[in-house]
Structure formats: C-alpha cells, structure tokens
Amino acid sequence: MLGEHLERSAEVVATLPPAMGEATFENIAANAVIAGCDPSDLLAVVAAVRAVAQPRFLLDQVVTTVHGLWPMTFLCGSDPNWSREGDCLSSSSGSNSLVARALSLVLRNVAGGSPEAFDASTMGRPGKLFFGVAENTTLSPWDPWHVRAGWDDGDSVVATYAADSTLCIADMGHSNPEILVSTIADSIAIPGSYNAFFRKDLWLLMSPTHAWIFADAGWSVPDIAQAIADRATQPYGRLRGRGLFGFIDQHQAPAWMSPEPLDSEEISIVDHPRRIKLAVVGAPTGGYTTAVFGSGVTTMEKIESD
C-alpha cells in the first residue's frame, strides 16, 4: 500500500482528537488496506485525514457526540477510479467509497471513534460505515465543485463534512425550476434537523437531470443557493421548543437568534446562501436531489500528486 511512499511511513499526517492519536502514513495505509483500497487511493485518504483534522472541523465533537455525525468525503478531480454515475452513494461506487471507508477506520482506530472509547452516539447511522461520493463533472452544467471553491481545475481535492442522515428528494414530471426549487426547499425545512438550529453547511447532491433543469433556465449555482436559503424557512413559532430549540432558555440562545424572536419571524435553514454546498452526482436518468443534513462546516484539502 505504501509503495513509493514507504520512506514516509513514520510521517505524522495529523494528530486526531479526541484520542489525540497520531495518524501516520503507516497506520493510514494499514486502515486503507483493511478498507480494500488500491495503493493509488492512499493520497486521497491522507488528504481526507488532513481535512477532518483541521480545527474548524471540530473532530472531537463529531466523534464524541451522541448524535450520528460522521464525515462525508466528497472527491473532486480527475481520478478515473472514482465512480461518478449510477449508484454513486453506495458501496458499488468505486474507490470513492473505499476512501471514505478507510477514513472511517482511521477515525475508529486512531482517533478513538468506537463505542468502547469516545463514540457515544445514541444510535449512529449507516453512513458511519462509509459515505464517499465523487462529483460527476462530465454531466454537470457548471464548473467543477472544487473550482467554484477556489481551487485550480487541474487539482484533485477532498472535501469533508460532518454529515447526518440523507434525504432523497424526488421531483419529476416537469422541467420548471421554480417548482423544483420549492420542492427542495420545502423538503429540507424541517424542525428536527441540526441544520435548523445551527444553520451551518448543508449539502445538496443533485442529479444531472435536476441540475440541467436549473441550468437550462439560466439559473447559476449561486441563484439556486439564494433561492433555497430564501425559501427553506420556518416561522419561529413552528420551531419554538422543538428539535434542538428545546435547549434554549434565557441563558443559552444561539448567537444568531434575535433577543425576543416573534413567532412570525422566518428562520432559514442556513445563515447565508454560501452554506448551501451544491454538487452534481449520479446517473443521467432520474430526477433526484439528495440532501445531506449535518452540522458545522466543510473542510478541504488538496490531494497530493503521485
């Protein structure tokens, strides 16, 4: 697995909270072997480890929480082994799922993310086994996700996000972007998600069919993000005392909340349209958008070239 990186075996890639274990090329490679990775996947796994180790990812919180948070890995670039079309969120999805599985194992074996140690998740979720997806740049009407995020077109990048469960939003039988955006917005504006309370990043993995409905009507990615931020709202009276809003008392209201919110005040699922992370994935047939709920922010790392 280490191959030409053998001399880097002892190199510490990151110190991973909460166990403060040192992730080295050697133990990352060992977990990549267990995951079934190909040696060509190693540097993507290394980049994913670096991404979750960024302080702003709050890895200790992701691992220790009673919630089911766990990293989603999103791969952007030109690796031919990544599966970008049908069944791309599943285990048949090429090396992107194996990279995600390897990251999960590193978190379990190096960062302490097992129920016998730091993982106190009440019930977990299936995505903790692996949740890795690659962008379908070929069928996307827009610039690649990583280019929109500020990287060079020739770069390969891994993004990580503390993900919760996914929701498949089906919308078919028309080509009206207004209807489509309303379906997506209404489907994600629910009181029980962490997003409703923290209002941080929210990923929308959009099938090419949905993406082209917007693109053909002249909508850009920022247009879609703005529309969803504007429309995926709930009146505070619908949120009060529900979901995580049950935590709130006079001492512990979140910083974004106005001091005495009116029941009629509309609260968006995100605190800014840029929180909507929109990427095109999957096969050309079928009109679906998968919402990936979660908590916190997206972190990114460039994948080293072999």
């Binding site: 909460p18 200790d60 220790t64 140690a117 730091f118 106190a120 709130i248 008392d249 512990q252």
Partner: protein, 164 residues
C-alpha cells in the same frame, strides 16, 4: 506511593469557586439544577461563587478558558455536564488543564457515559482524576427527583476538591 500528578487540594474551602454548567441544557426551563445542587453542598460562608453557563458545542478553546480563570485567581473549578457526551469529554479536558495549572478541579458527569469518561481521562494523561457521577440520564428525571439524584454527586464533588 505514586507521585501526585494533579493540583493540590482545596484545603481552605474559601476563595473563588467557579462553577460552570457545560451541558446542553436538556432540562431547559428548570434552570441550572446541577449547579444549584453543588451550591447547596457548599458551606454557607467563605466561598465566593462565579457561575458560568455555556453549552459545550461548537468551537472549543479550553486552554484559553483555563488561562482566563487562572488570571482571575480562582481557587477551585467544578464543571458539570448532562447527557451530552461532547460536553462531558470537553468538561473533563478542562478539568485536566485546570489541574495542570494548579487549580483543583472536578466534573459532575453522568455514569452512563463511563466509556467516554475513561477514554478522555486516559487520552489526556489523567486516568487517576476523580470525578463525581450521577447514575440516571437527566432526560429520565422528573424535576422533583432532581435534588435527590444530584445531592450525593454534588457532595462527592466537594469531597474530591477538598481531598476528603
């Protein structure tokens, strides 16, 4: 006899005691009942209290917070956590950092999270640090049950701080 690894104990039961409610407020509407239980277990005189409420979610900068408490010249620290595992782990980490700064510290945490308690204390080099525990998930308690459940944990916290 092993070498003492933590701060000296709080012998005088005097000075500034900082109580921090670090849990997500699962009993919202009941007030700060764990903190109140610790206060009730304290002697009537000699202790100045500073009670701080802050949910342990989001960005966590424990060293900065402990440095701030050291600057305040505090005498002891109690951090409480509820059913929140992140809060529990982070509360313990703060206690360890306080002890490393010479401040006697302990936490009031749920025994139901014993795995994460042990893992955190071990990872941060203080498996010997004593903490006070309560044995019921807060979510299962009725408000009237709360004082009885918390009383012994609060008394245990004071005993840990004083070395008794």
């Amino acid at each position: 006899m092993g070498k003492r690894r933590g701060a000296p104990r709080w012998n005088g039961l005097s000075g500034l005691l900082v109580l921090s409610d670090s849990m997500l407020n699962v009993n919202a509407g009941w007030g700060k009942l764990i903190l109140d239980s610790v206060v009730a277990a304290l002697p009537a005189e000699g202790v100045t209290l500073d009670q701080i409420r802050r949910p342990q979610i989001g960005d966590h900068r424990p060293q900065e917070w402990i440095d701030h408490l050291v600057e305040q010249g505090i005498s002891a620290l109690v951090v409480t956590a509820g059913d929140c595992a992140t809060c529990t782990s982070r509360a313990l980490r703060e206690c360890i950092l306080a002890e490393q700064s010479g401040i006697p510290a302990t936490a009031v945490v749920p025994i139901g999270l014993s795995e994460i308690i042990e893992a955190t204390l071990t990872a941060w080099g203080r498996p010997d640090l004593r903490v006070a525990t309560f044995d019921a998930p807060l979510f299962s308690l009725k408000q009237n049950d709360f004082p009885d459940v918390m009383q012994s944990a609060a008394q245990e916290a004071i005993a840990i701080l004083t070395g008794s």
